[in-house]
Symmetry: C2
DNA sequence: GCGAACTGCAACTAAAAAGTTGCAATCGAG
DNA sequence: CTCGATTGCAACTTTTTAGTTGCAGTTCGC
């Protein structure tokens, strides 16, 4: 996974409707039609959201007879979390360094 | 931090320009004007982005004389990563359970 | 084979977000 | 005190995205 793929994942996660979809899929795999019966948007809207989620590997389609069920992929979320943590740690390290320098200066 | 604050953080992180800003701030604190000299957008556009980032506590303003420098906050990123990891683990656990059940059924 | 259930594609509308320009207000340095 | 640098506010345009409706294509069950 390269850095260029990280931002689209966040863009995908930055929408309430998509989280509703992910939450529903977190309980059980479901098709776009099935999700449309639960959520307050049309099936086509859900299909578009699923396409977005599939593009960033947050869900994957599973054909079951004539319907296409979607499965949520925790691995992408875990991987994203790991990378986010690294970046956050870097920033904190720089701030800690600055703070340390400031304290050293005060002592002198 | 409540769940309702999580989605806006992702929305904030789902934009390339904001990542450019965060990357620049990751190297050194800077004002909107200073950032505008480096990035290919106007100062006002950057000011809006900084407001978005500040709303979700990814940066915080620091007055230095007549200018307002912004500091990146790693803690928010770390916290977000932690929560993301928990959710991903939940999903993976469900999938593992399902897989286990499927395997058990095959044996019988 | 035929009808019903599902999916997929396309065009369109509406709302949100990114970016711009222009101007007023503020504050420091000389 | 005054000039220049910097920030803040407002109106506007453009682009993107979320959502809709309508229709065509597939495939399963009877």
């Amino acid at each position: 996974m390269t850095a260029s793929t990280l931002v689209p994942v966040f863009a995908a996660l930055g929408d309430d409707t998509r989280w509703s979809i992910l939450a529903a899929l977190g309980r059980a795999d479901a098709s776009a039609s099935a999700l449309a019966e639960v959520l307050p948007v049309s099936r086509q809207a859900i299909a578009k959201h699923l396409a977005v989620l599939q593009d960033v590997r947050l869900v994957e389609p599973v054909r079951v007879g004539r319907e296409v069920r979607y499965r949520v992929l925790g691995s992408q979320l875990t991987e994203t979390a790991r990378r986010l943590d690294l970046i956050g740690a870097q920033w904190d390290r720089r701030l800690a360094t600055i703070k340390q320098i400031a304290e050293d200066l005060e002592i002198e």
